[in-house]
Amino acid sequence: MKRIYMDHAATTPVAPEVLKAMMPFFGRKYGNASSIHSFGQEARDALDNSREILSRFINAEFEELIFTSGGTESDNIAIIGAALAGKEKNHIITSRIEHHAVLHTCKFLEKYGFKVTYLAVDRYGFVKPEDVEKAITKNTVLVSIMHANNEIGTIEPVREIGRICRDAGVLFHTDAVQSFGKIPLNVKKMNIDMLSASAHKIYGPKGAGLLYIRNGVAIKPLMHGGGHEFGMRSGTENIPGIVGFAKAAELAGRNMDKWREHETRLRKMLARGVLEIPDSWLNGHPEKRIPGNASFCFRFIEGESLVVHLSMIGVAASTGSACSSKDLRPSHVLTAIGLKPFDAHGSLRLTLGKDNTKEDVDFVIKELPGIVSKLRKISPMGRK
């Protein structure tokens, strides 16, 4: 059976070019970047070179970028790091549609005396910059608003929010895990103080992430030890992972326009076809979204069943259904944009990548209606 991968927001295959760049660093140039000898220097050179590439990629300085194990760690360092450094200030502003890596970290801080404002979003998932402005108090230490949402693809007005924070003298962090490599990012122009990204979302390897920390921003590290990464993240550097991350960013930079057009075209085609199904709709904004993201809802059916049926015919997709989540609540993103739990239950996320084809899309458009109606037949809900 041919398999069609449409879950690129969850993770992506490592691109052949990326794997090729990584290969020398497993068995041959395997030194520890802290070692003085020639093996160590090879590793150090690769580390420096990767940092150079990735910092240029977002218009940051070399020393403004630290490597982490992934997006979750970057988010945690940014938020806990700012909280630990915040002295008397104990207020954080974020949104209701952040990734759990942000939300659960904020919840954790609430147990230690922090007050967190979770801003509401509109039906497209947009945070209003004015709401950020209004929420800022003299106790606010950090604003954390994601650049693009992982479920519905909505791109937030990060630049405006950054401007407001900069003017108010409040730190601004953005989780750019879903946008990094897909749409242009410029930390200077966008008034960003901290930015998280993760390699495995852009055809890089799992286990490598980065956190941009603007020069002058003094946050505390989360992990302590050998003082790696300018003292901000201890632990032997994952050189193959970091090298792969840099190569993935290079590829993404070089192909950004091409891939964006390709994915946008396929996504529109997909949406057009899928929305022929009765009682269905697209979540998020029709235009201001990550190119490859298509988030649907089908009333009266449940997403996990849908995803498994799709998987049985070779199609990899995801859902925000309660049944598929660990805490058995429907996606907080879908409820935040106003969906009722019953409707959120029937969500299906198809996220396209560079290697998806028109044939892939056609196949899904052809097969999905049958699966939806099969599940609707066994459902007690819905029109007869």
Binding site: F300, I301, E302, E304, S305, V308, S311, M312, S321, A322, C323, S324, K326, L328, R329, P330, P341, F342, H345, K377, I378, S379, P380, M381
Partner: protein, 136 residues
């Protein structure tokens, strides 16, 4: 490739049994899962066996829910068909889970849902007075 489920569960999910409604059912039980939003409706048709005991002649179910919900409701209808009401009522969620070759921990509540739907359908049957004139 079991999606975390047993073979039996996946089999039942692919080919669910006893799906549908029973027109003018003798008992109907509708339950919703307050935790995750699943909904299940169980339809029973009741008859009598040779000993004169009330038995479940037919059972059908409709499920709005995940694989676990669909397969537990499906396997329960299979188990109760032909059983006396008493026997059917004795079926526990553990038996269901066992029959399915296990369920992921976080899906155990789905088996409760099926048992509850059956229970409600039987109660409904008795509430309607019991076609066969008995009280529960």
């Amino acid at each position: 490739m079991g999606y975390g489920y047993s073979k039996k569960v996946i089999e039942l999910f692919r080919h669910p049994k006893n799906i549908g409604e029973i027109k003018n059912a003798d008992g109907t039980g509708k339950v919703g899962n307050p935790v995750c939003g699943d909904v299940m409706v169980m339809y029973l048709s009741i008859g009598k066996n040779k000993k004169g005991e009330e038995i479940i002649k037919d059972a059908k179910v409709k499920t709005f829910g995940c694989i676990a919900a669909i397969s537990t409701s499906s396997v329960l209808t299979e188990m109760i068909k032909g059983k006396t009401i008493k026997q059917a009522q004795r079926i526990t969620k553990n038996e269901l889970v066992k029959k399915l070759g296990g369920l992921p921990v976080q899906k155990i509540h789905c088996s409760v849902l099926a048992v509850d739907a059956l229970d409600k359908a039987i109660k409904d049957y008795y509430k309607k007075g019991g076609k066969h004139g008995q009280k529960g």
